[in-house]
């Protein structure tokens, strides 16, 4: 951030203050800096992120401990990546963490509308797409490390508990494991950004939380149960179903998308939400 190019200072004009104030050109970089100050100066950011990490590691460890109590034998017959395999056991907290991060993302987007801070924000950054871009970049910068710490922590702790009880374990170097673990971190990040976009788009904390939670948790289940099988092709393109193609531990219905296609579909959802947010914030009155 300190390497941002400085514009030459304005010639010192009359000022009402002791020291001359030199304002610089408003750039995307400065908008990002501003959003960084905003996000780090809210205690709720850090409480939220800590909770996400704790949920992932805590629920993962709990799940591992429970499974070693019930499924004691190591066994060499069953594939480790099966439905109840060690990986999905240690990432048991991911479902809840995704939900939580969706809420935090929605808050990051809608919060300024409920506090009315948004007027000050868009007055300071009138090229408003920059507000959306800066918020997305800053949120991703906070969520990515959080998600990585969460999944890696859950993996390490969970596998430690499993191996201490001589239960089946997998290593990161095993086929597809690292991809699933990193994919889960990516999914967490994507849902945070989806929430952010919806929060800005809907300008309502409650509305955007409802939309994210509904879209991730409720819609796939309800639609899968109520719609005829012919709709399954469409349902694969829901965010949670797309994510299950590369996280493999999600249980949001049958996914037949390839991992690459799943990533692309999820990225498209994020891009659509942020794009719609940028379009809306630019077009409408604050």
């Amino acid at each position: 951030m300190t390497t941002t190019l400085e514009m030459p200072p304005r010639p010192a004009e009359t000022t009402s203050t002791a020291t001359p104030t030199t304002a610089h050109r408003q750039t995307l970089g400065r908008a990002i800096h501003s959003e960084w100050i905003k996000i780090r100066s809210l205690r709720s950011t850090w409480i939220g992120m800590a909770t996400v990490v704790l949920v992932m590691i805590g629920l993962g460890s709990l799940s591992a401990a429970v499974s070693t109590g019930s499924v004691a034998a190591p066994g060499d017959g069953g594939g480790p990546l099966g439905g109840g395999g060690p990986l999905s056991t240690v990432l048991a907290g991911a479902d809840f963490a995704v939900l939580l991060i969706g809420v935090l993302g929605s808050l990051a987007g809608a919060r300024e509308y409920s506090s009315r801070m948004i007027s000050a924000t868009v007055a300071a950054v009138p090229r408003r797409w920059q507000v959306v871009a800066a918020k997305a970049i800053v949120l991703a910068a906070v969520v990515i490390p959080t998600a990585l710490i969460g999944v890696m922590g859950a993996f390490g702790a969970g596998m430690g508990i499993l191996s201490a009880s001589d239960a089946a374990t997998v290593a990161l170097t095993d086929d597809g494991v690292l991809r699933s673990v990193l994919g889960m971190a990516g999914y967490v990040t994507a849902i945070a950004l989806l929430g952010l976009g919806l929060g800005i788009l809907l300008r309502s904390t409650a509305g955007s939380i409802g939309a994210v939670v509904g879209g991730i948790m409720v819609l796939p289940t309800v639609a899968g149960a109520l719609l005829p099988d012919s709709w399954d092709t469409v349902l694969r393109f829901l965010p949670s179903s797309a994510a299950s193609s590369f996280t493999t531990v999600m249980s949001a219905g049958d996914s037949t998308l390839s991992a690459g296609a799943g990533v692309a579909v999820l990225a498209a959802w994020v891009a659509a939400a942020l794009g719609a947010a940028a379009f809306a914030i630019t077009r409408r009155d604050v």
Partner: protein, 326 residues
């Protein structure tokens, strides 16, 4: 310099701002006056691009606000003192805003000191009283040392110290050659601080004039309140060319366009008794009420556009309350 050109804002069928054109000049404090819902805030919001005009343009220093290189250094605006996140400290709030134009800690601390918030700089904005929130909003407006200041009701919630401080501040800023536009519903406050007036009613500019000119013009000249037991006789004697009498209560009336001396002379000449003879200096408040009331009446009787203002005033029942003017 702020230039409004045919600026219009419609919400559906409702016209909030109706094609207003005006120039707000640097070097003076311009007061923006109008009843609730007249379009003051909407106009101010359009100047800084918060609301999008239905048609027309608002230019700041010759270009749209959104085209500004360093927006906060172009216009400092206080439009909504509550526009701060309650969970963030005052200092962090200003740091975040300042960062958009590369303004850092030193200036933020300086501005906090100048608005008197240094001691609560690390308290969350949510814990602030109305007056402290207002000071924070003013700090945000001053942060990047802007050439144009737009303040919507800045004295709202300020204590006496704060009001005197902002009065001096606005005058100082204008003296430095800045453009200062402020709205206030406190007419007396406006009279103290503003040099120029923009009066708006129902989305249209009703007056764009100096404050003295406005009072002179809108109040229809000087007035004298007369109390006399011989009111009837005196009134008959006084009624003449362009002289307007308004009866306020039995034995008491108001005269326009005659001085107290002239009225006293007439009374003495005819041996009529006078118990009270008070020249009334019109206040901005009464001038303003006069103007906006005419505006309301005019729209209510728009099917009779031929009537003149002066005759309409004579015919009006005596509900005037100008005597409270100092």
């Amino acid at each position: 310099m702020i230039e409004l050109q045919q600026l219009t804002k419609k919400y559906g069928d409702k016209v909030a701002v109706d094609g207003i054109s005006a120039t707000v000049r640097p070097g003076v404090v311009t007061g923006f006056l109008g009843p609730n819902g007249a379009g003051k805030s909407t106009t101010m919001r359009m100047i800084v691009g918060l609301d999008r005009p239905t048609s027309g343009t608002a230019l700041v220093n010759g270009r749209p606000y959104a085209a500004s290189r360093a927006p906060l250094a172009e216009v400092g605006a206080l439009l909504d003192a509550k526009a701060a996140d309650g969970g963030r400290t005052a200092r962090n709030h200003l740091l975040a805003l300042g960062a958009t134009v590369g303004i850092g800690k030193r200036r933020v601390d300086e501005v906090l000191a100048s608005v008197g918030l240094t001691e609560v700089a690390h308290k969350s904005a949510g814990s602030f009283s109305l007056g402290m929130g207002q000071r924070l909003g003013i700090a945000a407006a001053l942060l990047a040392d802007p050439e144009v200041l737009i303040l919507d009701e800045p004295v709202n919630g300020l204590d006496l110290d704060g009001i005197q401080w902002i009065r001096a501040l606005l005058t100082e800023l204008a003296d430095e050659g800045r453009t200062v536009l402020l709205s206030s519903h406190l007419m007396s406050e406006m009279q103290l601080v503003a040099d120029h007036l923009l009066v708006i009613g129902q989305g249209r500019i009703l007056a764009d004039t100096s404050i003295e000119g406005f009072i002179e013009e809108s109040s229809g000249g000087s007035r004298v309140v007369v109390a006399s037991p011989d009111a009837g006789a005196l009134a008959r004697l006084l009624t003449g060319d362009g002289v307007v009498l308004t009866t306020r209560e039995p034995g008491r009336f108001e005269v326009r366009d005659l001085t107290a001396a002239e009225i006293g002379d007439v009374a003495a000449e005819h041996g009529l008794r006078i118990h009270e003879l008070t020249p009334v200096t019109a206040s901005l408040e009464s001038a303003y009420l006069e103007l906006t009331r005419d505006r309301v009446e005019f729209t209510a009787t728009a099917q009779h556009p031929a009537r003149t203002d002066r005759t309409a005033r004579t015919a009006r029942p005596a509900t005037d309350d100008t005597t409270k003017a100092a």
